[in-house]
């Protein structure tokens, strides 16, 4: 496989919470190649947005990078100066945010903002920028794009806004597109439409797409590879097909078992994973998932599990994965 366009190595990020630190991300390692769509799944609070924010370099002011680095086309983005980091944003790495209701400025028209977002483009006139933005709005399936340019965000529906924010992210033809829960705030029909749109975009998009979600269905429909996260750690990674049909980490199996789309028959009780996320202020000594895992034994509770390579493309962070 070619050199990864984005490579995250051993990234640990915490949030300063006064007397202690919330370890939101622990030793996360992942990579994305051009032309591929990777998924990041995990339940709420497992650090997905923290990872996304780190990729685009917009961490909250109280975030602390404890260790690790992010390489974009081989350069460590944390080592760049502020200006270079700023140039990278929007131009090379773009983001679609979680909540389409609040992503746009309420007092500026959509057109105004889409034009402003192209400020890295040099030697391009305002009217050309307007044309580019209008074309992209048409591309993401907005019915009357030139009228939409004159609209204020609150005049558009949630689905329209999410389309518009996808268009915004594509404006600068970035090499990495991060979509943080692009469909979570939308209803089911809208969700289906947005997924359809993202699939369509895949075909002529050259860069890497990273889709963050807690919905396995979204991953199955969109992604080539998936990283499963639990309590700030990546616990399993592999091709979508492998992960779905032969999950090796008990958390992945449990997650799949809980996906309603997976049930063959009507069930009176929805299955859930018993227990709750471990305390992120003092993460457990051994495996993070041990407290909720049906297979866990003494070893799991006391010793940090190793990365077990299952195949060329799949590995899991589990003592039991090799068995």
């Amino acid at each position: 496989m070619s050199e990864a366009i984005l490579r995250i190595e051993n990234l640990s990020i915490g949030y300063d919470a006064g007397i202690c630190q919330i370890h939101a991300l622990r030793s996360a390692t992942l990579e994305a190649h051009a032309g591929e769509v990777i998924g990041i799944v995990g339940e709420s609070g497992c650090g997905k947005s923290t990872l996304a924010a780190a990729i685009i370099n917009l961490l909250a002011p109280n975030a602390i990078i404890n260790s690790g680095s992010i390489y974009y086309q081989g350069t460590d983005i944390f080592s760049l100066n502020k200006d270079a980091q700023r140039k990278l944003r929007g131009q090379d790495i773009a983001m679609v945010f979680q909540d389409p209701m609040t992503t746009f400025n309420p007092v500026l028209t959509l057109g105004d903002q889409l034009i402003d977002f192209q400020q890295h483009l040099e030697g391009v006139s305002i009217s050309e920028k307007r044309i580019r933005a209008t074309n992209l709005l048409a591309r993401v399936g907005i019915p009357d794009p030139s009228l939409c340019m004159k609209r204020f965000p609150h005049e558009l529906s949630g689905g329209m806004r999410q389309r518009a924010s996808i268009a915004a992210a594509l404006l600068m033809q970035p090499n990495v597109l991060v979509a943080d829960e692009p469909t979570t705030a939308l209803d089911v029909t809208m969700e289906a439409q947005i997924i359809h749109l993202l699939r369509e975009l895949r075909s002529d998009y050259q860069g890497a797409i990273i889709v963050v979600t807690h919905h396995l269905g979204v991953v199955a429909e969109l992604c080539d590879r998936v990283y499963v996260m639990y309590a700030g750690q990546v616990v399993e990674q592999g091709l979508v097909d492998d992960i779905y049909h032969a999950p090796k980490h008990p958390y992945t199996s449990a997650l799949i078992a809980c996906d309603p789309a997976h049930f063959e028959e009507h069930t009176p009780i929805l299955p859930t994973i018993a227990g709750r996320l471990p305390d992120l202020m003092n993460p457990p000594q051994g495996c993070s998932f041990a407290a909720r895992c049906v297979l866990a034994n003494e070893l799991c509770r006391t010793t940090v599990p190793p990365w077990v390579k299952i195949s060329q493309t799949q590995s899991a962070l589990c003592h039991k994965a090799s068995q």
Partner: protein, 316 residues
């Protein structure tokens, strides 16, 4: 929007009516009846009675208010007890001076205040932010008359750069400009601090919003994020504050026009109150209340223009 405008106007009329009622009540409550003060202690009862009748003070309060309004609608605010000139003419003569003072004072305060507020946001958490904070709070807390008197002392008496009194020669913009510097400075200074604090607070709130994160995600510079994306949202509450300050310029005009012996509404009303020149007091208060209401209403309409969400709420 139209029903909103009509509603606002009706409310404004009601407020005007209540204000005038209160004014009339005050005339009756302050000790010393206007006629005796006007004529002095040695006036004969007949003379007094004549004056009371001429001023309409013998009629019941409501009827006085009614007549006052009835006349005011036709543009007649009565006559100055002393000079016998129409009150409206006196007010129209004095008003431009006070209006100009208000415009200049709030314009420089607004520009500098917004700028300092934004600077504090850009340098938030640094010593610069703290210095600006101390500066703003001192500007708010130093009384304006102290500023006025020191300015007078330094720039007019010691340095002799600026004229100590008056409003400049009529028809000579340069001398008028020099004459307005100190009064506008004295009126505006606390507004600078106040606006800087306001802008900083509402700006910091806006800076935490998701759409600011979006703007940053597109690599916009901090300056552009602050001045274009955040300020456009944060300036909206500031507009109504400035409008209130401008509309109630009368209260600052009273002191600053007295200190600098500047003609204007403040001087007019001060001398009218001292001489119990009630028609002038009434007329001035009516005009300035109306002015206040107009300015505040215009500010609301401006806010509706700047904030599409407000506009839509009003439309429906």
């Amino acid at each position: 929007m139209l029903t909103y405008a009509i509603k606002r106007s009706l409310l404004a009329l009601l407020i005007l009516f209540v204000v005038m009622l209160a004014m009339y009540a005050m005339v009756f409550l302050v000790p010393g009846d206007p006629a005796s003060i006007a004529l002095g202690p040695r006036a004969t009862p007949e003379l007094k009675q004549q004056l009371i009748e001429r001023m309409g003070l013998d009629q019941p309060i409501l009827s006085q208010v009614y007549h006052f309004f009835y006349n005011a609608v036709t543009g007649d605010l009565g006559y100055d007890v002393w000079s016998k000139r129409p009150v409206l003419a006196e007010i129209l003569e004095a008003f431009p001076y006070t209006f100009l003072l208000g415009v200049v004072a709030l314009a420089w305060a607004l520009i500098l205040g917004v700028f300092l507020g934004c600077a504090a946001v850009i340098y938030r958490g640094t010593p610069m932010d703290r210095i600006l904070g101390i500066l703003s709070v001192s500007m708010i807390s130093v009384p304006s008359f102290v500023v006025a008197i020191y300015a007078l002392l330094i720039f007019a008496v010691w340095l002799r750069w600026l004229p100590a009194i008056g409003a400049g020669e009529i028809g000579d913009p340069w001398s008028q400009f020099k004459a307005i510097i100190m009064p506008a400075f004295a009126v505006g200074i606390s507004w600078v601090g106040y606006l800087a604090r306001m802008v900083r607070a509402s700006m910091l709130e806006v800076m935490g919003a998701n759409h600011i994160r979006t703007a940053r995600a597109f690599g916009l510079s901090e300056r552009r994020v602050v001045f274009k994306h955040a300020l456009r949202v944060a300036i909206i509450p500031t507009i109504s504050i400035v409008a209130v300050g401008f509309g109630s310029i009368l209260s600052s005009a009273v002191f600053v026009e007295t200190v600098f012996s500047r003609p204007g509404i403040g001087t007019l009303i001060t001398s009218a109150v001292l001489k119990r020149n009630y028609p002038v007091v009434m007329g001035t208060v009516l005009v300035m209340t109306a002015f206040y209401l107009i300015v505040v209403t215009l500010a609301d309409l401006l806010i509706a223009r700047l904030d599409p969400r407000v506009r839509d709420v009003l439309r429906s």
